[in-house]
């Protein structure tokens, strides 16, 4: 194996389509080729990174999550990135916090449950 690979060779070796590799580069998941213009330009590092992305994907990670995990450009921000939570004032004296990045259908169900809770607590307080 040469030190440098073409995009087609990387795609072949990693089993990731070339278009997808360009998409990853544009999203900042992968560095661009180390040499611009005509000629071989990718290295084993690219291959390794692609393998890492594939394995994280098979664990069910989204590309955004993978971006944060892999660091790279976003490393510093990612480290400091806070977790987002929604605050629900269910009653004057009860507050529920829910994670903001839960899946939408789970969110719906949680919402329904909190709705019930709120109705119940609302009634209780009136008595």
């Amino acid at each position: 194996m040469n030190e440098y690979l073409t995009l087609a060779e990387v795609a072949e070796a990693a089993g990731v389509p070339a278009r997808t590799i360009r998409f990853y580069i544009a999203r900042g998941l992968l560095d661009g080729p180390i040499k611009a213009g005509r000629g071989a330009a990718y290295t084993a590092n690219h291959l390794a990174r692609l393998e890492r992305i594939k394995s994280l994907q098979s664990e069910g990670r989204t590309l955004s999550e993978i971006g944060r995990i892999l660091g790279g450009v976003e490393a510093e921000q990612a480290a400091a990135a806070p977790t987002a939570w929604w605050q629900h004032a269910v009653a004057d004296d009860v507050v529920v916090w829910t994670r903001a990045d839960m899946s939408p259908w789970r969110t719906r169900q949680v919402r329904a449950a909190i709705g019930e809770l709120a109705r119940f607590l609302g009634k209780e307080r009136k008595e």
């Binding site: 995009l7 278009r19 998409f23 661009g32 005509r38 989204t62 977790t83 903001a100 939408p104 719906r108």
Partner: protein, 763 residues
């Protein structure tokens, strides 16, 4: 440095932003026939950045659609696509990219999603791709509805991930194991800053046109042409065009299609077959309660179901199922259409709220379980699901007839049309801004009792027609023949029809052949197993389906998952090895679907959520309780009116029918009097024994009136005239609706109103 304009106006001003649209314009032209449409979609791409771009635009195919070719033009070039095996097309595309050439690839994935990829667009270069698409239409006896998707709806998948990536912008990912390298766009809540869309279409028809309309767009109509009336529009909903003919008649189109053959298409209205039998109906209504149905769609659907159930008699039986990612049934099995059971249904519906995911298959599988003895399923859904091939496989295996009422502004038309067709049912698609209840009642009136069964066509017809025919929906046949003039032969249980083929020009023949091809390809595409299910049996099936699709693509010259369209244009000064920057064209969230239904909250972004919440004034919880119980309170019109529902007295009237078909009342006499008024109210609004959405209701009222006892001879005569009116469609003037709904309506009032109605005064 800060943008004070933005700080002044908390709402982001879309026009003030420096927008660099990779795709600037999408314009639809072409001709629409009752048998399908031959379309050209213009896409204008441009790199407004200082490096070459690779732009990916994702769009869903319309129903029964296939891509034929594209033409690509730029400042000094014009090139035409080639149809190649997908693997080969991708290689050609990649080689073009590596050479620095302008490369374009149109490739189809599962669910009928297409990625149009244009690579190496140079800075400030404008590239236009004209894509030729063949597509089907939704046929009705008296016309057709044409839908073209201007956006891709986000769709539920059990393993999808969705997150907000910027304010009002959401991202969705599907498992690559199943969807390959398909790239989904981001979804913008506000479509105003996206590419502009528009259309200019002509209608080709044999029957004279009665009405042309669009519930989706502002149009201008010029004889047989329909175009957007404004300068441009935003990509957040389907284009929906309705064409209605002056008469209901058989239409046969034909024309030379090459090699001495002639292609044809025939549209045979259901009225050419027979009439509904009076057999008892067994129906399960399945309601999609997924989160994307929130708001107007689910409110409309609940209202519609209640109206449908009012058409049932005690000898009919029904079930009610609601699903999201869980399934709830009103009862374990089917129940007779009695008053108590309808009340039970009402109570059940009142608790159904939009909520979770869209596990459509679970919904109809539960219905299939309940219908073990046979019957019909009617699904009310927005159909916003992905991985539809798997769902279709489950539907075929369930061996039940599924009819669909699609509700939505962005098309899952292709999928729902397939779901109904593959199970021998019928489908209709409406937007939440139309009368969903009316469409549901109409559809419900026709399913359950086919007007013909055992339908077969002569050998030159392909695909085989569906074996059952339902009132309102015509049969569409495609075929090719070597005989001239030739004919098509239809037979069914108790009937036959011979349709001679007219002569026609070669362009029509060519178009018909392409429409047939795209229909066949769509059918086989729907049989493609998901890539994930690669058990040996599935693998064999996949290669069988793949081989069939390849053969169809080659025979008809149309793309499929097996064959793609590619073009590479070498321009002066192309520089090999330059890496274009990938840009995915965002699309607009479908109108009336809440952004929050898919994209709950920012994913790991700025912690703004906690700040925003307390700033809102805490509302009372009253709205919530009202929402759950208020919508269905139909008896007391004094209830708060829900904004999404318009007061519709006719729909309310229809919902009042008792299981024996009569209006309610304290005595037999009042019941009969109110029933007469109800018949006349429905007739006055255009509903008769055989026509109009409320035809089942009219029929049940008439049945009740025929058996009505305790009436005098004079009253009997009035009843007779009301029954006559139900056939003739002519009713005397009068506020029959008010009389029908008045608990104290009496025969004398009916009589005096009738007399006054035949002695009309000025308005």
């Amino acid at each position: 440095m800060s943008d004070t304009a933005a700080s002044f106006a908390p709402v982001a001003a879309p026009t003030g932003e420096p927008i660099r649209l990779a795709m600037q314009r999408l314009w639809l032209t072409g001709r629409v026939l009752p048998a399908g449409a031959r379309l050209t979609v213009q896409h204008v791409f441009r790199s407004g950045e200082d490096k070459p771009l690779e732009v990916i635009y994702s769009f869903p195919l319309p129903r029964d659609a296939a891509l034929r070719a594209f033409r690509i033009t730029g400042e000094a070039f014009e090139a035409h696509s080639e149809l190649r095996r997908t693997e080969e097309a991708v290689k050609t595309y990649e080689q073009g990219i590596a050479d620095g050439s302008l490369s374009t690839l149109a490739r189809q994935y599962g669910d009928g999603v297409v990625n149009l990829t244009v690579g190496n667009i140079r800075p400030n270069e404008t590239v236009t791709v004209y894509l030729e698409v063949l597509a089907g239409v939704e046929l009705r006896d008296d016309g057709f509805r044409f839908r073209f998707p201007f956006t891709l709806a986000p769709a539920y998948h059990p393993r999808m991930k969705a997150a907000v990536v910027a304010e009002g912008e959401g991202e969705m990912e599907l498992p690559p194991s199943e969807f390959g390298d398909m790239i989904l766009p981001r979804f913008r809540e506000d479509a105003a800053s996206l590419h502009e869309v528009g259309f200019d279409l002509s209608i080709l028809h044999q029957l004279p046109i009665e009405e042309i309309g669009s519930p989706s767009h502002a149009i201008r109509v010029r004889q047989d042409r329909v175009a957007l009336a404004t300068e441009k529009d935003v990509p957040n909903r389907d284009l929906v065009l309705d064409v209605r003919f002056k008469e209901t008649a058989v239409q046969v189109f034909a024309g030379a299609s090459g090699e001495g053959k002639r292609a044809f298409a025939a549209v045979v209205p259901s009225t050419r077959f027979g009439v509904n039998t009076e057999a008892a109906r067994r129906t399960v209504i399945v309601l999609d309660r997924s989160g994307s149905m929130e708001g107007a769609p689910i409110a409309q659907a609940r209202k519609a179901i209640e109206a449908c159930l009012a058409a049932l008699s005690e000898s009919d039986s029904f079930g009610l199922v609601a699903f999201d990612n869980q399934v709830e049934s009103m009862s374990a099995g089917l129940l007779p259409g009695s008053r108590e059971n309808r009340e039970k249904a009402r109570a059940f519906l009142s608790q159904v709220d939009a909520r979770g995911g869209t596990e459509l298959a679970r919904g109809f599988l539960e219905a299939a379980r309940m219908l073990a003895g046979g019957g019909d399923v009617l699904i009310l859904t927005d159909g916003e699901v992905s991985g539809t091939e798997q769902i279709l496989a489950q539907a075929r295996n369930a061996k039940i007839r599924i009819s669909c009422l699609g509700i939505g502004s962005a098309s899952q038309d292709r999928f729902l049309a397939l779901l109904a067709r593959e199970t021998a049912g019928v489908s209709r698609f409406v937007t939440a801004r139309e009368r969903v209840d009316l469409a549901a009642v109409d559809l419900f009136a026709s399913i359950g009792r086919p007007v013909a069964s055992g339908l077969k066509a002569s050998a030159n017809v392909q695909p085989e027609p569906q074996s059952v025919v339902f009132a309102g929906t015509p049969v569409l046949l495609f075929g090719e023949t070597e005989a001239d003039p030739g004919a098509v032969e239809l037979t069914w249980d108790g009937g036959r029809l011979n349709l001679p083929l007219p002569s026609g020009d070669g362009e029509t023949g060519h178009t018909l052949r392409l429409l047939q091809g795209s229909r066949l390809i769509t059918d086989w595409e729907s049989r493609y197993p998901s890539e994930e299910a690669l058990a040996p049996l599935e693998k064999r099936k996949q290669s069988r389906v793949g081989a069939k699709l390849l053969a169809l693509s080659q025979a008809y010259g149309l793309a499929s998952r097996e064959m793609s369209l590619v073009a590479v244009v070498k321009r002066a000064g192309d520089r090999a090895g330059e890496l274009p920057e990938t840009r995915v064209v965002p699309v607009g969230m479908p109108q009336d679907v809440k952004f929050g239904a898919y994209f709950g909250a920012p994913a790991g972004g700025a912690p703004m959520a906690a700040c925003m919440m307390p700033a809102m004034a805490p509302p009372t919880s009253a709205p919530m309780a009202r929402k759950a119980f208020g919508m269905l309170s139909r008896v007391r019109a004094s209830e708060d009116k829900d904004a999404a529902l318009s007061v519709d007295p006719l729909m309310d009237l229809a919902s009042e029918l008792e299981p024996d078909g009569g209006m309610p009342g304290d005595s037999d006499s009042v019941r009969a009097a109110r029933s007469v008024a109800a018949v006349l109210a429905l007739v006055a609004a255009g509903h008769t024994l055989t026509g109009g959405a409320f035809r089942s209701h009219v029929a049940r009222l008439v049945k009740f009136l025929k058996l009505a006892g305790g009436v005098s001879a004079g009253e009997r005569a009035l009843i007779g005239r009301a029954i006559e009116a139900a056939s003739s469609g002519a009713a005397p003037r009068g506020d029959w609706l008010a009389l029908a709904r008045a608990p104290g309506a009496t025969w004398p009032r009916i009589e005096s109103t009738w007399r006054a109605g035949f002695n009309p005064r000025g308005a």
